[in-house]
């Protein structure tokens, strides 16, 4: 299949982009940083084409559904969303170095999908045959992607804050990170993108569940974990207005939030059972 080849090329682009960003981190050569973002957008364009092609191919073999229905497809889509949200934040705030902490997430997802997961297009069970599938998965994954970017930025923040506390040198790699205050702001911005999208993802999921089964909320493990993630980021948003909860604690909260997101996305399917069991291995 043509799309499979394109996904392989995408993986190579993301790997090259990650390497370029790491090179940028070490050498501070602006052109290498530019190469990093160009490779990321290039990979993104190829991946978009591959996703559309896979969608078409599913129609060719008589199954006809958006490429969002099994673990492989969701992992690939997670990489796509992460690059998109990172690309938007890069275009808006121009802190290129952030790519070194975000592109590895996209690369990791693509590599895992391409190397270890079954890539077949599967038929869609009746419960999944609905347009809600597209809206629900799209909103959830763009939300996850916002949290992935926030997590990458938070890791940078913790490194930078430690460096500042020690009164670190002004010449090392870390001194070229954006100032801690900016990283804190970027973290907040990324979560401000992720949180409404996650909310919309939970709501579209509830609307779909109500339409398919007549219950908008059934405390299924996946639903519950998405709510746990929602609680954590709601806490993050309120923590900003609470004394003693800004800075490092907020960064940790963002990292914990992303860990919960990953558990909600993968852990629930791999370790727990429930309505979303089709997403398992």
């Amino acid at each position: 299949m043509m799309s499979a080849k394109l996904f392989n090329i995408t993986t190579i682009f993301y790997m090259a982009s990650t390497l370029a960003f790491l090179g940028y981190l070490a050498g501070r050569n602006k052109n290498i940083g530019l190469a990093g973002i160009v490779l990321a957008w290039g990979g993104f364009a190829i991946q978009s084409a591959a996703l559309l092609l896979r969608w078409k191919e599913s129609y060719d073999i008589g199954m006809g559904h958006a490429p969002l229905s099994n673990l492989y497809e969701s992992v690939v889509f997670f990489a796509w969303s992460t690059v998109l949200i990172y690309g938007i934040i890069d275009a808006k705030y121009k802190y290129r170095i952030v790519g070194a902490f975000v592109m590895p997430f996209a690369l990791l997802a693509m590599a895992w999908g391409q190397l270890y997961l079954p890539t077949d297009i599967n038929p869609l069970m009746p419960a999944l045959q609905s347009n809600w599938l597209l809206y629900h998965v799209l909103t959830c994954f763009l939300g996850y992607a916002g949290f992935a970017v926030a997590c990458g930025v938070s890791i940078m923040y913790l490194i930078r804050a430690r460096h500042d506390e020690k009164g670190g040198s002004k010449s090392g790699i870390i001194s070229h990170f954006p100032p801690a205050k900016i990283l804190d702001e970027l973290n907040y911005k990324a979560i401000m993108i992720g949180f409404p999208l996650l909310t919309l993802g939970i709501i579209t999921g509830a609307a779909w569940a109500n339409y398919a089964w007549g219950t908008y909320w059934s405390w299924d493990p996946k639903e519950t974990w998405s709510l746990i993630v929602w609680f954590i980021y709601a806490a993050f948003l309120h923590a900003r207005f609470t004394k003693g909860w800004v800075g490092k604690r907020a960064a940790w909260l963002s990292i914990i939030g992303f860990a919960a997101t990953i558990f909600c996305y993968l852990g629930v399917n791999l370790f727990l059972s429930g309505l979303h069991s089709y997403g398992g291995l």
Binding site: P123, P126, M192, F195, P196, A207, T215, T224, I228, A239
Partner: protein, 457 residues
């Protein structure tokens, strides 16, 4: 002394419920507590085998803590109640300030405010009244219509955009309460039930999850049920259903209802009548088929005949031989297959042959005068329908819509304010303030100031 103590106690209680620390505590507690129910199985989905994997002491402990129905346990509901109280008290405490902020905007800047807020000088070519009018026209065209206040010998022009967006966050908080209210309405006035209807049968009641039966107030008949399966890559049918479909007819006291005759019901496409919604949820075999329908075509004159075979009961054909059904199988890829025995008159040596339901013309190859094809059986399916009544669901959707709108307003819109202080003598200055997204407002403010300076006011 006593009363002041009481007041301070009430005051402290109020402060406790208003505090953001309580909010954080509740959000973390709810998050952590919610994990329990994703690890321990929950009613009604507990497999009998689970009980053998835990000790009786553990079971008793979990049961007393409500862990098997955790999300409805008293302590979880208590946390949710506390969460609601926290939301309400926070809003009561802060909303009046916000309303005041919106309804009584800061029209003039005091000396100290002018000093502490960094403003920009404006170059004016005109003076006094004329400047004031031109500046007002400029703000109206480029930003918003200003309110002009005269303080001693100074004019203060104040213009603002989106003051109401400060309410966004309260809309989100309110929407959570609306969703809770919708859920409660559904719990009190609605129900969730299940009914299995065999093809051709009619039901007028449903069984609820708690075992009670509830009359529907009308009748539902399952006219027909059918299921189709995905094709396997190599041909033949897989075991994965592609679609299952019920055809339903609703009647009230035996009277048919317009638009509710032969309604098609599939997964993801429910049917609602009188506030009660039917969802296609499962299906199954209702009987063991014992009659098999065959079409028998005679090569000599091309005539066809329908016969019904039942196990143990032979049927005689036109040439006197007896046909009986010996065996039946249904395998993926092969489909329903019947083994028939054909015994010529007077012979006791039957011939055996297979007839495949999915390959109706295959029997021609046998070369016999009679060509058999298996057309069907008297197998009946039952259709499993989830039956719900939830009058609160619309309240929940209103809450969800409010939440999305509120989040968009709270996150992506900002209350922007501009002041111009025009003194009788000396330089006029412009000041700006935004409730959110300062960097983008800074750019907007600088562009506005630049334009103002270039306009020769």
């Amino acid at each position: 002394m006593n009363t002041s103590n009481q007041r301070s106690f009430v005051q402290r209680l109020w402060d406790f419920f208003c505090s953001l620390k309580l909010t954080l505590f509740l959000l973390f507690t709810l998050a952590i507590a919610s994990i329990i129910g994703t690890i321990i199985p929950q009613y009604p989905n507990i497999d009998e085998r689970y009980w053998t994997t835990i000790s009786s002491g553990k079971r008793a402990l979990y049961e007393s803590l409500g862990f098997f129905d955790m999300y409805h346990s008293w302590w979880f509901l208590a946390f949710l109640t506390l969460f609601s109280i926290n939301l309400i008290t926070c809003s009561i405490q802060r909303l009046p300030h916000v309303f005041k902020f919106i309804s009584e905007p800061l029209l003039t800047l005091s000396e100290s405010q002018q000093k502490s807020w960094s403003g920009d000088d404006i170059n004016l070519t005109s003076t006094g009244e004329e400047s004031k009018n031109r500046l007002a026209a400029f703000l109206t065209a480029e930003f918003a219509t200003p309110v002009i206040t005269k303080v001693e010998d100074q004019y203060h022009l104040f213009a603002q955009k989106n003051p109401w967006c400060r309410l966004g966050v309260y809309v989100v908080h309110f929407s959570i309460l609306v969703i809770f209210a919708g859920a409660m309405i559904g719990n009190i006035f609605g129900y969730k039930g299940f009914v299995g209807i065999v093809e051709g049968d009619t039901v007028d009641h449903v069984e609820l999850r708690n075992g009670k039966t509830i009359p529907l107030g009308f009748e539902v008949k399952c006219d027909q049920f059918s299921v189709t399966f995905y094709e396997m890559p190599g041909g033949g049918q897989s075991t994965m259903p592609k679609e299952f479909k019920s055809i339903l007819t609703v009647t009230e006291n035996g009277q048919e209802i317009p638009d509710y005759k032969h309604v098609r019901l599939i997964v993801n496409d429910p049917m609602t009548y009188k506030g009660i919604t039917f969802y296609q949820s499962s299906y199954g075999q209702a009987n063991n088929p014992d009659a098999f329908y065959f079409n028998v075509k005679d090569r000599n004159d091309d005539s066809s005949q329908q016969i019904v075979l039942r196990p143990g009961i032979p049927v005689e054909l036109a040439d006197g031989r007896k046909i009986s059904i010996v065996d039946l199988s249904e395998n993926p890829g092969e489909g329903l297959t019947a083994v028939l025995a054909s015994e010529a008159k007077g012979s006791h040596q039957p011939n055996y042959f297979k007839v495949f339901k999915d390959h109706p013309s295959l029997d021609e190859l046998r070369g016999d005068r009679f060509i058999f094809s298996l057309t069907g059986t008297n197998l009946k399916y039952y259709t499993g329908l989830q039956v719900n009544k939830d009058p609160g669901v619309w309240v929940v959707w209103i809450g969800c819509t409010l939440m999305c709108l509120g989040l968009c307003v709270a996150f992506f819109m900002s209350h922007k304010r501009i002041w111009i202080v025009l003194p009788d003598k000396g330089k006029a200055r412009i000041y700006g303030n935004a409730s959110k997204n300062q960097p983008s407002f800074k750019n907007e403010f600088e562009a506005l100031t630049e334009k103002l300076n270039s306009q020769n006011i």
